[in-house]
């Protein structure tokens, strides 16, 4: 135990002289009444987050109950549910449905791609390799969000590297066939839902890998061995042992992938079609349209969805895997 070393460092003279005055009195007070210290420690962060963040959220919520006068464009500061009613217009429901579908698909794809990486990192990577894997996930996680999107613009553009690669492989017909499909296709990958989907998966993938890896690291290796000793095929071991134990991690990761997709407006704006996502609708309603109540009502949608999601995730024990 390195306690001795720390003590040596901490108290160069064996006993420090006690200090009197205000400082000593305060110190004594904190020791006798830990609650006072606790309160003082909590006060600044809780005040900041409470006033700046929660306060703003309430300001937003309040605005969603206002409405906009269609003729003057002025905001009518009277309580009404009219703005929420507007959410249920076909065009707006469409936006919500499209975003939720995309978020679900992105979450599913992230989980599928993340699992082998997380499993390899948790079970097989050791020493130097383990460090390399960790950095290999952390670097893309923390590197610039816009740069990542920009990189994909370069890749997916009509004259970009993907088209070039497919041409070399004589597979351009495949790309053309895909792009001619309704909904997922488009003029080029960089202006299609397929492109949006790929970039979403790419950008949020590390958020899925880390919790899944954390969950898998808690699975004892001999459990997998026991399963195969008892005659289970790798597929059976995966379905009956690994997957259930990794599930809290996957749910924890899905909180991020789902929530981030619900709110993002930059990826679909830069790589995507003109059909809007929730984030874009919020942005344009508060900006160009000047309809802040409707923008506020729109943001309540992801809040409510995430509220249920977090509640469900907590019940599945996903918070322990965060």
């Amino acid at each position: 135990m390195s306690l001795d070393a720390a003590m040596m460092r901490a108290t160069a003279p064996a006993i420090l002289p006690g200090s009197g005055g205000l400082r000593g009195a305060l110190s004594d007070l904190f020791w006798r009444k830990p609650k006072v210290l606790l309160l003082l420690m909590l006060l600044p962060p809780v005040l900041w987050l409470g006033i700046v963040y929660i306060g703003s959220l309430f300001a937003l919520l309040a605005q969603s109950f206002f409405s906009i006068d269609e003729f003057s464009g002025l905001i009518n500061r009277e309580f009404t549910l009219k703005t929420y009613g507007d959410l249920f217009q076909a065009a707006n429901l469409d936006i919500i449905l499209r975003t939720v579908t995309m978020a679900a698909l992105v979450t599913l794809a992230s989980a599928v791609i993340a699992f082998p990486i997380a499993y390899y990192a948790a079970r097989y990577a050791r020493g130097r390799w383990k460090a390399l894997f960790y950095l290999g996930i952390m670097l893309p996680l923390w590197s610039s969000y816009l740069v990542k999107i920009y990189a994909w613009k370069l890749i997916l553009a009509k004259e970009g590297i993907l088209t070039w690669l497919l041409a070399k492989l004589h597979l351009l017909w495949l790309l053309d066939a895909w792009l001619s499909l309704p909904v997922v296709g488009g003029n080029s990958l960089s202006v299609s839902f397929t492109g949006t989907f790929i970039v979403f998966v790419y950008v949020w993938l590390p958020f899925m890998i880390l919790p899944v890896q954390a969950a898998l690291e808690r699975v004892p290796g001999n459990l997998v061995e026991a399963s195969s000793d008892l005659g289970a095929s790798p597929g059976q071991t995966f379905r009956n042992v690994l997957f259930p134990l990794a599930l809290p991690g996957i749910v924890a990761g899905s909180i991020f992938t789902f929530s981030l997709t619900l709110g993002d407006y930059i990826i679909p704006q830069i790589i995507g079609t003109s059909r809007l996502f929730i984030g874009q609708a919020v942005y344009s309603q508060q900006g160009t349209a000047g309809n802040i109540p409707l923008a506020a009502a729109f943001t309540v949608v992801p809040i409510v969805i995430m509220g249920f999601y977090l509640w469900g995730a907590k019940r599945m024990g996903a918070f322990d895997a965060l």
Binding site: A59, F133, G279
Partner: protein, 271 residues
């Protein structure tokens, strides 16, 4: 015997993991090639030629420097605020059990658990309700709020691993609370705070969604890049800036990794 202890991974798993990692890294590497391309107007691949002239052009662009300087100043101040708030909060939460503890940890996580656009528009609507004009400080207000969680996470992890008995020992030896904090607690959590601070800096430096709502006319570097992505003026300059941003964010991440890596050597980790 199937369970032989140290087996190596099945080939399929190896390939899948390697492909996954390549998927994560190749796009970023691609940026580096584009920074040197001679092509000005489009994203043509392969690059028709290579040149370093765009670095000089970028160097002489005042708008890039202004954006960079604003980003650095915002990130520095937000990080400082986040360090204070995050440390206080993590010390309180990890040390004692009290009513509402769960609520407080949720409160800290919420600004990044909810989509950025919600934080952004919530702050914007609060500013407009309170008649606060957009300024440098409105950007800082937003950034500091979501940076707290990074410092908090790093510090909480460190607090949980270090032992409370050290603090008691220090007190028993006659140190008062402030001396204990200065000589025992702080040295133990210093590297975790440094790591948290660097990540908070990187997070703020890169933030775009919240910033679009809390900035008025000012342009941080990400806002500048977003402008260029939507209405490109000089593509090669964007390429160069993108590459520089990758390199600049790489350093704090590597540093943070090395600072938190040796977690086992913290004094009192034996509990």
């Amino acid at each position: 015997m199937r369970s032989d202890g140290s087996q190596s991974a099945p080939l399929g798993l190896k390939i899948a993991a390697a492909c996954g990692l390549l998927f994560l890294h190749l796009p970023i590497l691609l940026i580096f090639v584009y920074a040197f391309t001679t092509e000005e107007k489009s994203f043509v691949w392969p690059p028709p030629g290579l040149t370093t002239q765009w670095f000089a052009v970028t160097w002489n662009r005042p708008d890039v420097w202004q954006a960079l300087s604003l980003s650095v100043r915002v990130a520095a101040i937000s990080t400082a605020i986040a360090l204070v708030l995050g440390t206080l909060c993590s010390a309180a939460v990890s040390r004692t059990k009290f009513f509402g503890r769960e609520t407080i940890s949720l409160l800290v996580i919420l600004p990044i658990a909810l989509p950025g656009i919600i934080t952004g528009i919530a702050l914007r609507s609060a500013f407009s309700l309170a008649d606060i004009p957009f300024s440098f400080w409105t950007i800082v207000l937003g950034h500091a709020t979501f940076c707290v969680v990074v410092v908090y996470n790093n510090a909480v992890a460190r607090f949980r691993r270090s032992s409370g008995s050290m603090i008691e020992a220090s007190m028993d030896l006659g140190a008062d609370g402030f001396q204990t904090f200065r000589h025992v607690v702080l040295p133990n959590i210093a590297t975790a705070l440094l790591a948290g601070g660097m990540l908070a800096f990187a997070l703020s430096f890169d933030e775009v969604i919240v910033t679009t709502f809390t900035a008025g006319q000012q342009q941080t570097l990400p806002i500048w890049m977003l402008e260029e992505l939507i209405r490109p003026r000089q593509r090669p300059v964007t390429n160069v800036v993108a590459m520089v941003v990758v390199l600049v964010t790489l350093l704090p991440i590597l540093a943070a990794y090395y600072l938190t890596r040796d977690g086992d050597q913290i004094a009192g980790s034996g509990k």
